[in-house]
């Protein structure tokens, strides 16, 4: 099992409060990385997340989405650009699984959050000349 898989598994098994604290620090750290490294880190992260069992995957992605929406606008932009570029690196299956669950959990958080997230993604994709993500609805 790769280092990233071990880390994600450890975070997924941790209690919610601890997972949130550790993942916040981790996402902030990734946001501060140079782009190439950030894309690689996020590719490793989403690959490892999609390898979790569904029971663990959903709460993990819910925590990640909650943290993402609470980051500063620069950090959000850095993470989302990295995430979109990482999507190409990991292949359609992993990218779509992660995207689908992310949108599902955002919807569960409320329509407002879902709109905020999709709007942000569209806006950032346009700004950086990336293809607009397909949200499947």
């Amino acid at each position: 099992m790769s280092e990233m898989n071990e880390m994600i598994k450890m975070l997924a098994d941790a209690p919610e409060e601890q997972r949130q604290q550790m993942l916040t620090q981790r996402l902030k750290m990734i946001a501060g990385q140079p782009e190439e490294q950030r894309v690689k880190s996020l590719a490793g992260l989403i690959t490892a997340v999609t390898e979790l069992k569904e029971k663990k995957m959903k709460p993990f992605i819910a925590t990640r989405t909650k943290i993402l929406l609470g980051l500063s606008s620069e950090e959000k932009e850095a993470i989302l650009v990295g995430r979109m570029k990482a999507g190409k690196m990991v292949g359609d299956k992993i990218h779509m699984t992660d995207m689908k669950v992310t949108l599902e959990v955002a919807k569960q958080m409320g329509e407002e959050k879902l709109k905020m997230l999709t709007g942000l993604m569209k806006q950032i994709a346009e700004k950086h000349g990336l293809p607009t993500p397909e949200f499947g609805y």
Partner: protein, 459 residues
């Protein structure tokens, strides 16, 4: 049947020890590649760094683990021949197999536990280098210094703990050789087995000698674990100071050392002392068995005596492992935010990420279930000896020797179950540690790489 029942726990425990050993190999590999990745990144920034050569124990411990399990497998195979010889009534072969099996078993145990101890020594060395070098290199990177004072890796290994480890291995590995010699000589001279004779009691003495060796090794293991705790704590202190200096921000002081760390010293020392005292009680009994103390049924207390010592030592090890997981948890909290602040400082970005305050209840982060499992194991070990010893003594006073034998046969399986549970819990502790160490590798490797990238970009 009795011999067959001896093979299963022997092999089972051997494989559990091997599993723990391999978890340690994984931890060592992960810590080592953390250092290699970081060194590679620092070299890209022009830092002149020497590669340290791996010492003897670091190279040899995986070989010791393999040799240990192979010895136990060989002992188990010979034991099967021993059983066949017993069934066929071949007395000569029966005794030859018995003479050969016992010292090989001892050697296997010494290599397996010694391999684990040397694996921990390797962790202590690699972790020690990183704890001392990482802050120094980060500061040098930011200041643009190229030459760094070289670290003496030998100074990171406590000499006495190393001596105790080697002593424990020698005692454990050689303990059963005299038994084999006594048995061989006795059989050659008398053409009769050695049981229930004064020579048989000598074998009992040497049998306790191997437990003394195991106790010394477990004592050494406790101290290697304590050293790991010390390095993990120091890593957070040093990293905090580095963040303070580079990012020019206030960093909360870390929590005081956990009180249970003191308990590790107490349990380890009490366990070893108990085994020493016990060993000398047996030795005195041996010397005076025909005279002064011959009437005392000390023989009945041998197994409970050993069990108390091992239970104390294992509880100490469990507490140390618990503290290591807590420290790794706290490190996992601190590392990403520390690197974020250092990276921001290098980028000349004034954003600072607040580092979490010292936890007032750090034990909340510990895998208490695993420790409780270990305690239950220790309790089962004691259950398999003390109450049974009392029963045996009371039976003997009543002259019920047959009942005494029945009770005797219960001891082995019960103690093996307890020891098996203890090893299983220790194995689970180590697999938890593997997860944290791999996470640590990712964070440190990526963190250093970012620091180096932005330093080069700044130039």
């Amino acid at each position: 049947m009795k011999r067959f029942l001896e093979i299963i726990p022997l092999l089972g425990l051997g494989f559990l020890k091997l599993g723990i050993g391999f978890a340690i190999v994984t931890i060592v590999k992960s810590i080592k590649s953390t250092g290699e990745n970081a060194t590679g990144s620092f070299k890209k920034a022009g830092l002149k760094l020497e590669n340290n050569k791996a010492p003897f124990f670091a190279k040899s411990f995986p070989i010791m683990l393999i040799a240990g399990i192979l010895s136990e497998l060989v002992a188990a195979i010979i034991m099967i021949f021993w059983i066949i010889a017993g069934v066929n009534g071949n007395e000569y072969a029966n005794h030859i197999y018995e003479i050969i099996t016992v010292p090989i078993e001892g050697l296997g145990v010494a290599l397996l536990i010694g391999g684990i101890a040397f694996g921990l020594t390797t962790i202590v060395l690699n972790l020690g280098i990183q704890v001392n070098e990482l802050p120094k290199r980060l500061k040098a990177l930011v200041k643009g210094e190229k030459d760094l004072e070289e670290l003496q890796p030998k100074s990171l290994i406590p000499r006495w703990t190393k001596i105790v480890t080697i002593t424990g291995m020698i005692v454990t590995g050689s303990a059963l050789i005299p038994v084999a010699i006594i048995r061989a000589v006795h059989y050659a001279v008398n053409y009769s087995p050695t049981y229930e004779t004064p020579v048989g009691l000598n074998a009992l003495l040497w049998d306790t000698w191997i437990f003394l060796g195991i106790a010394i090794l477990l004592f050494a293991i406790s101290y290697w674990l304590l050293r790991i705790i010390k390095w993990l704590r120091r890593q957070r202190t040093q990293l905090g100071k580095t963040v303070e200096e580079i990012a020019e921000m206030e960093v909360p002081t870390i929590e005081n050392p956990l009180k249970i760390t003191t308990a590790v010293h107490s349990f380890a020392t009490a366990g070893l002392m108990w085994m020493f005292i016990f060993f000398f009680v047996i030795a005195i009994y041996q010397a005076f068995q025909e005279t002064l103390l011959g009437v005392v049924t000390l023989k009945m207390l041998i197994k409970p005596g050993r069990a108390i010592s091992l239970a104390l030592l294992f509880i100490g090890i469990g507490l140390a492992l618990l503290t290591i997981v807590v420290n790794l948890n706290l490190t996992a909290f601190m590392l990403p935010s520390s690197f974020s602040n250092i990276v921001n400082a290098i980028k000349k970005d004034n954003t600072r990420v607040e580092l979490s305050q010292a936890s007032d209840k750090p034990l909340k982060l510990s895998p208490m279930k695993l420790f409780i499992g270990l305690l239950i194991g220790a309790f089962i070990v004691l259950l398999g000896t003390i109450p049974l010893a009392i029963l045996r003594i009371s039976y003997q006073f009543q002259g019920l020797t047959q009942s005494q034998l029945t009770v005797e046969h219960l001891i082995g399986p019960v103690v093996s179950t307890g020891v098996g549970l203890i090893f299983l819990m220790i194995g689970l502790f180590f697999s938890t540690i593997v997860g944290f160490v791999k996470a640590r590798k990712t964070i440190i490797s990526e963190g250093v790489e970012s620091c180096v990238y932005y330093t080069i970009e700044k130039k």
